[in-house]
Symmetry: D2
Subunit: 106 residues, 4 copies
Amino acid sequence: VSDVSDLSELQSEIRAFADLRDWQQFHTPKNLAMAITGEAGELAAEFQWLTADESMALTPEQHEAVRLEIADVAIYLLRLADVLGVDVEHAVRDKLAINERRFLAT
Amino acid sequence: VSDVSDLSELQSEIRAFADLRDWQQFHTPKNLAMAITGEAGELAAEFQWLTADESMALTPEQHEAVRLEIADVAIYLLRLADVLGVDVEHAVRDKLAINERRFLAT
Amino acid sequence: VSDVSDLSELQSEIRAFADLRDWQQFHTPKNLAMAITGEAGELAAEFQWLTADESMALTPEQHEAVRLEIADVAIYLLRLADVLGVDVEHAVRDKLAINERRFLAT
Amino acid sequence: VSDVSDLSELQSEIRAFADLRDWQQFHTPKNLAMAITGEAGELAAEFQWLTADESMALTPEQHEAVRLEIADVAIYLLRLADVLGVDVEHAVRDKLAINERRFLAT
């Protein structure tokens, strides 16, 4: 039984992909944050002219395009977290707890 | 040994958070894609006036702010994947394989 | 001498372009705001792997690509303002005045 | 009769605002493109949970918030164009002509 999380494994694969191409030099936190907005914009573009109903009933082609755009955002997000030493799972749980307290307070 | 992945567990927690507040109605794929661009913009805003070097040497306060913005993007990205039935881990591996072939071809 | 501003003229041309193609139905404020994030993401993508210095010394090809991405953001921004009846020039002046007061106060 | 366009005048005012605060050093094209994605994300955030119909019938408070977010995107877009020596009006007309040819061709 491995104690390496799924996310850590994915991060290792993404890091290896970048290392092999000598891309560490480009992967500053600033550049990666910028790449995330670019990919998030492409993901949004898949939905921009769809109605809410259409977005809930994607064609197989639309679904596959969206699936790969989700992957692109995830790749740069995991890469940024890796470069900064952020544990995404831990960060998500902390943020959910903060949101929880915020909603209780209002 | 559980066969439930870390990501599926996180998605369950995020789903429970949304269900408890009756937010499913707002969580159309279109709206979630839009929320991702909003959060990606907030993440970018943390870095926009920093130099590349400054982005690699964040203060503890900056690092914590970035960590929670990474969490916000991750929360909506995992929620979108959940709503669309997309396996993020699988999608990331598929996208890395596509990128691999693309680079071999050039 | 015309009392129609440059921006109003541009908005008329963009509106005519959309009307001719029967695109008013797609041009809800929500969809246009989403399109702006998509185009802003494409603009960011032009710069994401450049250093600060490289971004200040674009090649002619890079400059032309950026010029057309600036146009894309401007087209959707002017269209959104048109649909909502927002006077962009007036809004910019109001926002600069607000920023001015904000900086004086700190 | 002035031959200075509305947009050039706005750009002068925005430039003066930045110069007074010694912000030219931060206003590299890369940083400004990043700031545009941040502001576009804030604009999107105003609409993300609204239905299409709600986005067409904003309350006065929502309309004012959107108006000032439109101004923020416009300010950084005009500033980027200024720094790069891009004539936004000309760029928009060129892009509309390109789009026109593209649609005729299909």
